[in-house]
Every structure is written in C-alpha cells, then in structure tokens.
C-alpha cells in the first residue's frame, strides 16, 4: 500500500456528484488513477461508468466533488488534453471521409507544416506496428474503406501515439468490442507494456477475462458509486459478477403464470446467424436485457419495420413502438401534447380522412386522466412537460392505438421513480388484457418485472430466462462474456 501512495496521481476524482434532472448519475464516486497502473472499470448499465469517464476527460463538469490532474485542480476538455488524458470512445470518433494519416493530423495539432503527411504516416504506422504487430492496414486508405475492427485499431493507435510527449492516461471504453481474440490479446499485451513504462490505462470492458488478466486494480461501480476497489488478484469471475449485482434486494412479486398459449404473435430467427431465436406470445411481457448497445434496439427496429409499410397507410395497426430517446425519435417538438398523443391513432379518430377534433379531445381527456399527465391543458406544447410526463405521453400514444403488440426501447431512461411505478401499473393491466409487450430495458428492476427475458450479447440472443430464473445474477452472467483471458 505504501508503494501505491508514493506514486504520482495522474487523475484524482473524489466525491464526484453528477445529476441529470431527477436522476443521480454519480453519487459521490471516487476514482484515483496513479501513474503506471491499469484500472479495470466494471458495472452494469447505468452504474455511472460512462459518466465518470466523461468527467475525467473533461466533457462533463461535476456538480460536486473535486477533480485534479497531477495534483492541479482544473477541468474542461482542453485541461484534460493538456494533462495527457486521451479517450477512445465506444462510438467511433474518427472522420470517416479522411485517411488514417489525416485523422492523426486532426487529433494531433502539432502535425503541420512541411511534410506533415509523412510525419503523420510514420507516427501512426509505428504505433500500429507496436500495438498490433503484423497488422495489414494501409494508412493511405480512408476510414470508410477499413473494416470496423481496423477502424478501432486505428483509433486506439492514434490515441496512444504521442509526438512531443506520450499520453499519461488512455481511457479505453470497450476497446475490443469489434476485435477478434488475437487482436484483443495483442492490445492487452500492449497495455501491460505501456503501463510498465509508466503510463496509465482505464479499461472498460464487458469481457471479464480481459479485465481480470490485464488490470492491476479493479473498480466496481453501482448506482453512481464505487462499491469495490481492490487489487485484481483478489477477484475472480464469480466474485466480480457478485460485486456488480445487488444480492440484498432480491424482492419477490407476483408474476403472471407463464402462459405460452397458441401460436407466437411475433417471432424472429436467430440474429446474425447464431444464438437463440425469438418468440412472443399473447399477453406476455418479454424483456430484452444485456449491456447497452448489444443489438437490442436493432432487434426492436427489425421487428417493427418488417410489419409497417413505408408506402401505404396501414388499415389495422398491429404493432406500436415506444421510443427511448425522446428528443431524438419520440416527440414532435413543435406540437401540442394532444397532437403528440393522437398521431398514431388518427385513423380511429377521423372520418373521410379528416381528423374529428371532438373525438381527438375526448381521447386526450381520457388518457390525461388515466395516466395522469400533469398539465393544465392538453393543447400546451409537449416541451412544456417534464421528461417523465413526456414519456407518459409516448406510452399513451402507443397504448391508444389498436395495436396488440407494443415494443418499448428502454423508455424509462431518465424518468423519476414515481412515474415509473405508475407506468408499470398500466403495463401490467394492459398485459392482463391480452396485449403483448416487448421491453428493452437497461434497468434490472424492470427486467425483473418481465415474464420472460432474452439476454443479448454481441448482437445476438445469448440466453433465455423464464420466471424464477430472471435474477440479476443470471442476467449479468449471461451479458458478460466469461471468455478466455484474452
């Protein structure tokens, strides 16, 4: 321990609090990274992993707590960059139209003047060769022409490269998500080498084998807090999953007896040619679980778009969709609450293709009462509502249709707990009436409400859990790849 204390602190975040509306994304999290160590960061969805990463790289200012780089208290993107913090994001952040060398030029402002192209090329090529020996990437090609794995390799190499000074801390968010086992092993080996030379790495991965074998120290986060921070040797796969999970609160509640009666109302063959196939039966509440971004939303979109014409008005709607990202693909911001609610069921509300205002108002009044939309007037703009109430309107939009199946794309993100309880109640009664719900959720509490759960990993369904099997532990075990230590 004394040896650790003597080492230089590259980044120290202490007591960090960040809130988004009613949601506490970080609730007093501590994360100290010393020079020459690799820290593995694990946790389930919404545990606060990406929020703390964004605080460290300067993209988010903490609402409370202290943040210092090499002992100096400061924050902001440029401060983080000046202190040698680099970040490889999960979503690709290269310019797809530029070549590898040109992207290096964008990331490293020092590359300019005479023969910058040559210097950029040699910089990236050297670094690529160092991390991924034997790679076959042509650095004159544009990013568009590279495979996903090659793009990821290039981004990693550009982040580790340094012209005047090497980076002090490199944050890798799911760096191996599209690399095969061999490349992942090369990267892990390079991380060890980089750390041995005095650099630091913060590694986020859903492959626990990687975390266990590569990290010196593992930090486990849950509900915006750090719940475990120990040397990697003190963990094994099992204890790590247990640390992430919530063993205390395993409450029981009445779950509808699984009634797989009749033919499936929806089905889908195994995705990406492997894993399990998907079926849904009448009146079921089906959960799609797994870590965020592992193909759940894509599965929902496929289910929906296959059954909805883009050219002709559908006579009888069978399937409705509740969006998760309200501002991006849910609400129509210029419209009133009422118009936002009624858009999906205009067919029922009109005669001769003309909307009947009276019937529309009636529908609005009915749903306002039923789900308690807190507004004095349904003709107010949708943006006058709080996020939770906007989400309720989106639920009402889907439920007001005649659709027998409702798809939900993580709709409760950023909704306060009171609203959630109200919506759960409505969902249960609708399911009892024979509606089928397919629910992608990143929250374990919601997944546990479902009758049956499909766990997604790498775009395919990795496991199916029924009834009592739906526990946090089982879901976590299926979403994390135990895998060989890469």
């Amino acid at each position: 321990m004394t040896e650790t204390l003597k080492r230089e602190e590259v980044v120290a975040a202490r007591g960090i609090k960040v809130t988004f509306g009613a949601v506490k994304a970080l609730d007093g999290a501590d994360l100290v990274i010393h020079a020459g160590e690799c820290i593995g960061l694990v946790g389930h969805n919404g545990a606060g992993k990406s929020t703390i990463v964004n605080v460290i790289n300067g993209g988010l200012s903490p609402h409370d707590g202290s943040l210092s780089y090499s002992g100096n208290e400061t924050h902001g993107i440029s401060a983080a960059r000046a202190n040698g913090v680099r970040c490889v994001f999960q979503e690709l952040s290269l310019c797809p139209n530029l070549t590898v060398g040109e992207n290096a030029r964008i990331m490293h402002a020092e590359l300019k003047g005479w023969n910058w192209r040559g210097r950029a090329l040699s910089l990236v090529e050297t670094q690529l060769r160092e991390i991924f020996p034997g790679h076959s990437i042509d650095c004159d090609l544009s990013i568009d022409d590279l495979s996903i794995a090659e793009r990821q390799m290039v981004e990693i190499a550009i982040s580790f490269a340094g012209i005047d000074k090497r980076p002090k801390l490199v944050i890798l968010d799911e760096p191996t998500s599209s690399l095969d086992a061999g490349l992942a092993a090369q990267l892990m080996a390079y991380i060890r080498k980089f750390v041995a030379q005095g650099g630091s790495v913060l590694l986020i991965s859903h492959i626990l084998g990687e975390i266990l074998s590569t990290s010196d120290r593992i930090v486990v986060m849950k509900d915006g807090r750090v719940v475990a921070d120990r040397m990697a040797s003190e963990f094994n796969t099992r204890s790590l999953v247990e640390a992430m999970g919530n063993v205390v609160r395993e409450q029981e509640f009445a779950r509808a007896a699984a009634a797989k009666s009749g033919a499936a109302v929806l089905s889908m063959p195994p995705r990406r040619g492997h894993g399990l196939s998907f079926q849904a039966y009448r009146g079921e509440m089906i959960g799609l679980a797994g870590l965020g971004g592992h193909g759940q939303t894509e599965a929902l979109l496929d289910l929906y778009l296959d059954r909805n014409s883009n050219w002709w008005p559908t006579q009888k709607r069978e399937i409705a969709f509740v969006a998760g990202d309200r501002s991006l693909n849910g609400t129509f911001p210029l419209w009133s609450i009422l118009k936002n609610l009624s858009i999906a069921s205009l067919g029922q509300l009109s005669s001769n293709r003309m909307v009947d205002r009276g019937r529309e108002d009636e529908l609005g009044a009915g749903w306002k009462k039923r789900i308690e939309i807190r507004t004095p007037d349904m003709h107010n703009r949708i943006l006058s509502l709080s996020g939770g109430n906007q989400q309720k309107v989106l639920f009402a939009r889907a439920l007001a249709t005649t659709a027998t199946t409702v798809l939900m794309d993580d709709p409760m993100r950023g909704v306060d707990i009171g609203t959630k309880q109200e919506v759960y109640e409505i969902l249960r009664s609708e399911a009892a009436n024979g509606r089928t719900f397919i629910w992608y959720s990143t929250e374990m509490d919601e997944i546990r409400l479902c009758d049956r759960v499909y766990v997604f990993r790498n775009g395919a369904i990795a496991a199916e859990l029924v009834g009592e099997e739906i526990t946090e532990k089982n879901v976590l075990a299926a979403s994390f790849h135990e895998g060989d230590a890469a």
């Binding site: 909805n308 014409s309 969709f321 849910g330 999906a344 293709r353």
Partner: protein
C-alpha cells in the same frame, strides 16, 4: 407577454403588417390615385406566387433538404402543352386543365422516383428533372405562340366584384390547402415527417407514400399555375416560370413557414406574395431601379430567416 406569445404563434402577421405599410406608403406617395389599380395588380400577381408557393411550402414542410427546383420548368411545360392542346377552342378548356394536372402528376412522380431510386437529394433530383421537362417544353413550344381560348383568356384577365378571377382561384386553392394542412390526416403526417422523419416512421406513418403525394401535389400546383399564367398573359413563353423558382421559396420563407420543416403557414404565403409585389411597385414609384429592388428582397429574406432562426434557438 400575451401579445408577445400571440405574435409568436402567428408569424404570418408580420408579412401582413409589412404589406399594409408598404401599400399605404405607396398609395400616399401617388396621392391615392392608384389605390384601386395597385390593389388589383397586387392581387393578380400575388395569386400566381401563392399557387406555386403553396406547393413549395408543402414540400419544404417535409423537413430539411426537401425542395422542388422543377417548379419553373413544370409551369412552362404545362402552360405550353395545355395551350397547344386547347388550340384556341373554347370547348377544350376543361381538357386543357386536366392535361396540365396530368402533367403535374407525372412530373411529381418522376421527381420522387429519382429521389428514391437514385437516392439523391431532392435538390439534385428535381434539378435533373427540370432539365428534361424544360427540354420537352422547348421542343413543344417551337413555332408559333398559341393564344389561349378566348373564354379562358377573358376569365383569367377579368374579375368578380373587383377582385381578379385568378386571385379567387388562388383563394379557393389556399382554402383547400389550409383544410388539408390543418384538418386532414395527411396534414398531420407531413408536419410530423418534417419534425422528425424517424419518429414519424415509428409512429406508424407511411413516410415514403406521404412524401410521394407531397411532391406530386407540388408539381400539380405548379402546372395549374402555369396554365393560369399562360392564359393570363395571352400565351406561353419559355421563360415564363423562371422568376418563380426563387419566388416560390422566398414567399414560403418570408411567410413564416419554418425552413427546418414541420411547421407551415398558408396565410403567410398570401402576405409574403402581396408584400413582394408591393415592394417592387413601391420602389418603382420612387424611381428605384431593379438593382435596389433585388438587394432589398435579398436583405429581407436574410433578415426574416435570422429572426425566425433566433426564435427556434430560444426554444
């Protein structure tokens, strides 16, 4: 505060207020002698801008990137072919109108097929289409300038109770368009698509079908306008549509329709069309030339878009 909100909710008021000011100033300058003639001329010429403007507005409502550049060519072709078909016979007036509507339907369909099949942005698809349409018009226009049937010409140039007939036609079309936009399912759909195409798709709206109908509607309005304009001016000319390319976009923008899509405004098109004509005549009566007129038009467009853009960013 309430007044402020009222004005924000009704952006077309600005264009009407501006129109009235310009009208009063012009009439005062000419000593009131011209007030009747000026109003007549304003209504007549505004009517043509209104008809093409409504079509363009429907397209712009579909959201960023949606625009129809084939409007002038469509007007020219429709005017030319309709006059040729009617061949100065009064009995053929209706046939000519149907033919021009048919031309509009075909061009609109062609536009959307190009957009969809070649996956090119509407601006370049409608541009390529307009080249071809323009060529057909040149080809068919060759030779003599054919006059419109006498009854039709009389109709287009006369009026009812002092209001020009073309303005009445434009008014009827505006009312229909207003009903479509405000009362029908279709109106809700295009507004939804303009605000967020993806959200519209996920709410069960047939996006491609709706967009196709909209492009066809725009082309039909343009061809009807071409038919009227050719009848009004005693024959079709090859450049008769050219000034309506920028004009159709300008009246939509000045009229308070959101360029970002989703929000459209029919009264504003009337205000903007009258305003654009009156500004021209005002500058003419003051003796300013075409140069000042154009500069002022441009500055007005930019000022309006700056104000409107500011409103959106406040949200």
């Amino acid at each position: 505060m309430t007044l402020h909100r009222f004005l924000m909710a009704k952006p077309w008021i600005w264009s009407f207020a501006a129109t009235i000011i310009v009208w009063v100033v012009t009439v005062l300058f000419t000593g009131g002698a011209s007030s009747f003639g000026l109003s007549q001329a304003a209504l007549t010429f505004a009517a043509f801008s209104v008809v093409v403007g409504i079509g363009q507005m429907f397209v712009i409502t579909l959201g960023p990137g949606n625009i129809d550049l084939s409007v002038p060519a469509t007007m020219t072709l429709s005017g030319t072919l309709a006059l040729k078909l009617m061949d100065v016979q009064d009995g053929m007036i209706l046939v000519g109108l149907l033919a021009s509507i048919g031309i509009g339907l075909i061009i609109g369909l062609g536009n959307y097929v190009l957009i969809k099949a070649l996956r090119i942005p509407p601006i370049i698809a409608t541009l390529s289409m307009s080249f071809i349409v323009q060529s057909v018009a040149i080809w068919s226009n060759r030779g003599l300038r054919i006059k419109p049937p006498e009854t039709l010409a009389n109709f287009a140039t006369s009026g009812l109770f002092g209001i020009p007939n073309v303005a009445l036609v434009a008014l009827i079309l505006s009312v229909i368009a207003w009903i479509l936009l405000e009362k029908s399912i279709y109106g809700r759909w295009i507004s939804a698509i303009g605000q967020s195409t993806f959200a519209a798709r996920m709410a069960g709206i047939p996006v491609d079908g709706t967009r196709l109908v909209t492009y066809m509607l725009c082309a039909v309005l343009a061809s009807v306008c071409g038919y009227l304009l050719a009848s009004f001016s005693g024959g079709a000319a090859l450049n008769m549509g050219s000034e309506y390319l920028l004009m159709s976009i300008a009246v939509v923008v000045i009229g308070g329709t959101a360029v970002a899509g989703g929000n459209s405004n029919i009264p504003g098109i009337w205000g903007a069309s009258l305003f654009m004509f009156l500004v021209v005549s005002m500058l003419n009566t003051y003796g300013f030339g075409a140069g000042f007129r154009l500069i002022l038009t441009g500055l007005i467009i930019i000022a309006v878009i700056l104000l409107a853009g500011g409103r959106q960013s406040l949200r």
